[in-house]
């Protein structure tokens, strides 16, 4: 059990590292997908297969496809790779590196004090549903309102000024 955990955790970490250091946007995205899949595996190991399935379907399968869609529309060439190379100069690593080091220190301290999770317990679709539409109902409704606002905004932005042009046969 724990060997699977360390294996997928290592994959997730290394893949995330490559997401940051990759110079080509599509390659970075591919590493991000690998990282998401590895995290889904960890969810399965910790008794939450439903969360894992949603992670793959929603994050890896839908949101990442949309981001890839946008990157493909931009059609970036070698120029953007060169730009990325300049942005990732060694001096730019100092700040984030320091912050991550602090996080790592805190994490090691936490592990040292023994504040790790206990036994694995199974969380199936039924439990997730009950929690979503019971205990967390307010948060779910709020999130859906934010999403609705986003949807209306996107619709407004994409709408054509001339409603006559919307008629079929005019495009």
């Amino acid at each position: 059990m724990s060997i699977f955990f360390y294996f997928s955790a290592a994959i997730a970490l290394i893949a995330t590292l490559f997401v940051i250091t990759a110079r080509n946007a599509v390659h970075a995205l591919l590493y991000l997908i690998v990282s998401l899949l590895a995290i889904a595996l960890i969810f399965v190991l910790y008794g939450a297969p439903f969360a894992a399935a949603l992670e793959v379907i929603v994050y890896a399968g839908a949101i990442m496809v949309l981001i890839l869609f946008v990157i493909m529309m931009m059609n970036q060439g070698d120029a953007s790779v060169e730009q990325e190379r300049q942005w990732l100069a060694p001096a730019a690593w100092i700040g984030p590196g320091l912050l991550s080091a602090i996080l790592l220190l805190l994490f090691l301290l936490l592990i040292g004090t023994g504040a790790h999770s206990g036994d694995v317990h199974y969380v199936g679709p039924r439990q997730v549903g009950a929690a979503l539409f019971g205990h967390y109902l307010l948060a779910v409704e709020l999130a859906s309102m934010v999403l609705l606002a986003g949807l209306v905004g996107a619709f407004h932005l994409a709408r054509r000024d001339n409603p006559e042009a919307e008629r079929p046969g005019h495009d």
Binding site: N24, H27, L30, A53, I57, F69, M72, P125
Partner: protein, 318 residues
């Protein structure tokens, strides 16, 4: 203990080989059936009834030059065609072919298949991106938009079945259909899922990503040899997977009188595969905007209404 591992291994390798061979054979089946429905012979020269056409095609594909364009994104270009094969074969892992035949019995089996089918789109999109070719790019953009749109109600249309069976486990869903197949109470869900399945496997009439009259060959324009072959076999794998899923979810899976369970499952799946081919033979391709409008304006509201009605009736009956 060792005998159960042996049975498991037989299951895995048996299913793997059968599925891949069937997918390869389907290239011949499809062309023969298309020939039959369009009143022309189809491939009938190599071997009896042209059966060895599959072998001839394989030899041809293997010995063609495996060409990678100079301007392509090499690693992604090579990776892309393997994705569709891998995800589709993984999808078969949870399909319950018959009692005792099947690889794993996952609690969230249905979601697993949906996840695999949503990962399969990367194959097309990445292949299109890596080809660095404008026709391929257009095909890839179409594929991404089409698959993301149709995935939404592909999942929603199945929730009626999940509610009726009370489980995401595919074996439980088959067992719940002992009293009657779900195709009757979930007729709408069945139709929507089938249409979404055709769009997910980008088969005609929804093969806009590779529409040859406007995009040369769409996303696989730059692919040749066995890389193209993998896209091709992957498409047939997804046809079989969708048919097997429809059989499991709506047509009672292996259930049926007299014949052994596996035969029933194969018969139902084969019938659905033939429907796929018949649709290709009979229907013209819509325009791309028509495809998207049909999805978002007709199928999505219908599948939401189906979900609402099924939930309401189930609550009322309780």
């Amino acid at each position: 203990m060792s005998s159960s591992i042996f049975i498991q291994l037989v299951n895995i390798f048996g299913i793997l080989t059968t599925i891949v061979l069937l997918a390869a054979l389907l290239t011949w089946v499809e062309r023969r059936l298309l020939g039959f429905w369009q009143d022309r012979p189809g491939p009938n020269r190599v071997g009896p009834f042209g059966l060895l056409q599959v072998v001839a095609d394989m030899i041809k594909l293997f010995f063609k030059e495996d060409f990678i364009p100079r301007f392509a994104d090499r690693p992604v270009f090579v990776l892309a065609p393997t994705l569709v094969m891998a995800t589709m074969l993984l999808g078969f892992a949870v399909v319950p072919f018959a009692p005792g035949i099947g690889i794993v019995d996952l609690n969230v089996g249905l979601l697993f298949v949906l996840a695999m089918s949503s990962l399969a789109v990367y194959s097309v999109v990445l292949g299109a991106y890596a080809s660095n070719n404008k026709y391929a790019l257009l095909g890839g953009l179409r594929a991404a938009a089409q698959t993301v749109s149709y995935e939404v109600f592909m999942g929603i249309s199945l929730m009626g079945v999940v509610m009726l069976a009370g489980s995401f486990n595919l074996r439980d869903i088959v067992a719940a259909q002992a009293d009657g197949w779900f195709v009757l109470p979930q007729l709408l869900g069945f139709v929507i899922f089938f249409i979404a399945g055709i769009a997910e496997s980008h088969r005609l009439p929804f093969d806009l990503p590779e529409a040859e009259h406007e995009l040369t060959a769409g996303f696989h324009t730059e692919y040749s040899s066995m890389k193209f072959g993998m896209f091709f076999v992957g498409e047939y794998l997804s046809v079989i997977l969708i048919s097997a899923l429809v059989t499991t979810l709506f047509l009672g899976g292996w259930l049926g009188p007299w014949l052994p369970p596996l035969v029933w499952f194969s018969l139902k799946t084969a019938l659905l595969v033939c429907v796929f081919v018949l649709l290709r033979a009979a229907l013209p391709r819509p325009r791309y905007d028509q495809l998207m409008q049909f999805g978002w304006k007709v199928l999505l509201p219908l599948s939401l209404a189906n979900l609402l009605a099924t939930g309401g009736i189930l609550l009322w009956l309780q």
